[in-house]
Structure formats: C-alpha cells, structure tokens
Amino acid sequence: MDTNLLRQFIQAAYPLKEVELEKLLSVWQPFECKRKTILTAAGETERYLYFVLEGVQRGFYVGNDKQEATVVFTYPPSFSGLADSFLTQTPSKYFMETLTSSRFLRTTYKQIDELMNEYPAIQRMVLCLTAFILKGVLERQIELQCFSAEEKFRTLLKRSPHVLQIIPHKYLASYLGIDATTFSKLMGTVRL
C-alpha cells in the first residue's frame, strides 16, 4: 500500500519522529468508491478518518428550504470525513459524499485513539491539525456573515483558485451561500 503522499503530508504539517511516523502510517487501509457515493449519512457517527488520494468530496446539510447547504469540500492531499463527528464520536447532522470517483486511505477512531494514548506527539499532531481546522472554520464563519457575494467569491478564488476546475459551480455557489445565477454572473464579471 502506498502511504507516500500521507507521509509527505504529515511531515509538512507536523513533523514526527521516525518511530511515531511508522506507527501512524501502519494503521491505514485502502478504500475506493464511485462518484456520488454517500460515505456517511446524517444520524451516523463517523467511523473513519480518511486521507484523500484522488477525487473530490463534499459535506452537506439537508435544511428546511429544500436546499442542500454545502459545508465543506475535500480533495487531495488532505484528510476527509466528518471531522467533528469523528473526534467527538457523536452522531453527525450532515452528510459526506463523493462528487467524483475517489481513492482514499482510511483508519478507524479506535486506531487513532490508541495511537494518541500511546504517543503524546501523535496527540499533539491531531490537536495541531484540529486547531487549524477550527481556525479555518471560524474564518469562513466571518466571511459567510460579513462578506458580500463578490467578496466571498474573490476570497475563495484567491485562497483556492483550482476549485473552479474541479468542483461543479452549483456546489461552489452553495458553499458560499450565494445564488447559482449570482455565482455565474461573478464568474463573467470579476477580474482577479
């Protein structure tokens, strides 16, 4: 099994000593699935932490206005799955699905939990990764509440310009909380 991409990702995010790194890399299983496969449904508790090798995934909430609100996208190289449900081991309020056919490495809560108990450095790594996720989530919260549609659009494209190529625009519009027609207008008018 090829864990090279995961090894590089971890060493860049939070360098571990060789022994801890090898332990961490030993608990992953390959997993692949077709496009539009729901990995975890609302009401389930997330069993797995995924590391994306290929494909795009989307977390979304089914709300009261018949719209699906897109909460998060994941694509390589990054972790995936319903992080909050995974870390708290409580039922999720939203869904995770693949948008394209996807390849992952994945591991279970039990394995990560055991590693965190045995190796303080792995626990610190998880804390560090979670802290940056929290930072990103709160920044996005500010953008959603305070930014105009055009500001949201510009911010997204400055931060992650490649998503325009890999994610259907209707999902990007949903992610920004703006109308799909507004999104395509911005696509035509905004010069970066």
């Binding site: 539009k36 496969t37 009401g43 389930e44 018949k66």
Partner: protein, 199 residues
Amino acid sequence: MQKYKSVELLNQLQADVRQLILTASHLKTTDPGVLLEQPAAGKWSVIQVLEHLNSYGNYYLLAIEKSLKQDKPATALFKPGWLGNYFTRLMKPGNNGTITNKMQSPKNHRPARHPDALPVLNTFLEQQQYLLELLESAKTKNIGSIRTPVSISKLVKLKVGDVFRFLIAHEQRHFVQIENTLAAINGTTGKYPAVHPVM
C-alpha cells in the same frame, strides 16, 4: 451465479441505505400535506408507502439481528442463493429507475391512512440507521451460511446476505413509487435525489 466480495457487497448496500436516508431527509423538509395526499383513489400516499416499509422493517430488522448472533466468522466471498437472487431481481427497480412489474402487497402489510407524517418518517429514518449498523456488524459474520426466516413463512430461511439484498431492493422499489407519487401530486419531477439502482 455471480459471486460478490462480501465486504464490497455490504459496503454497497450501506451506500444504498444512505441514499435512502438522504431522500427521506429531503422528505422531512416537504409540506406534510403533500406527503399525506393520495395521488388517486386507492393509491398510497408517500407516508403510506413509508408505513408499508416500516412494517417490513419491524419484522426483518429484529429477525436479522437475531440471526447475526450466530457465531460464524466472515468469508471473503458471498454466493447468492437462487431464491434470494430471484426475490432481489423481482424487487429491484430497472437501471433507468422504472418499475415494469407491478405487485400486490400482502394484506398484513397494507398501511392504513396515517394522520401524522413526522412520526412515520422518523421511524423510517431510525430503522435505516439500525439497518446500517446491522450491515456493519454483518462484516464480521458469514452472510452466506447464516440464514434468516422470511416474513411470509418462518419455514423458509434465506441467506442473511440475500435478505439484506432484497430488503433494500424492496425499499428502492418503493422510493421510485414515492418519486412518482410526488410527481403526480406536484406535477414536477427531479426535485428529489434519485434512488440510484446499482449492481
């Protein structure tokens, strides 16, 4: 007969159940009046369809749980039985999401008209979560040698792998009916995520 890799089959069935949970979650945001409306005299409302599925869930989920207590460890491959395959094919919607073979439901599974939509939807969703857990625990069991009695006759026992297959195919079949029912009432289509037929 086609053999399946046991874990892949169970993963696929879980993905199918999650798709049903997604559609049912959308139904929860739909006007209850629409869900309770019969599209024509004698035709079931969406809630009646779900009530019908719940009545099967009541029987099968407990029957499956009981049979999975047997201590028979998992095998890599699962070979469907001929009767289990026949039932699954009978139930499964066509690849284009259509149903050509209409069937009559047994008398004890014909739902009354229900006054309240939400409890029926919630029961359906709870049953699907339970079904997901049963599929998960089945990954450690031999789904070819463990058998579960069917609802028509306790004397007929099918491989639990086949019971999962036709139970979920039966749900998919009725979710096509739900789409058609809503289309007949609203005069619209494509409002809800499609039920993807697989395998």
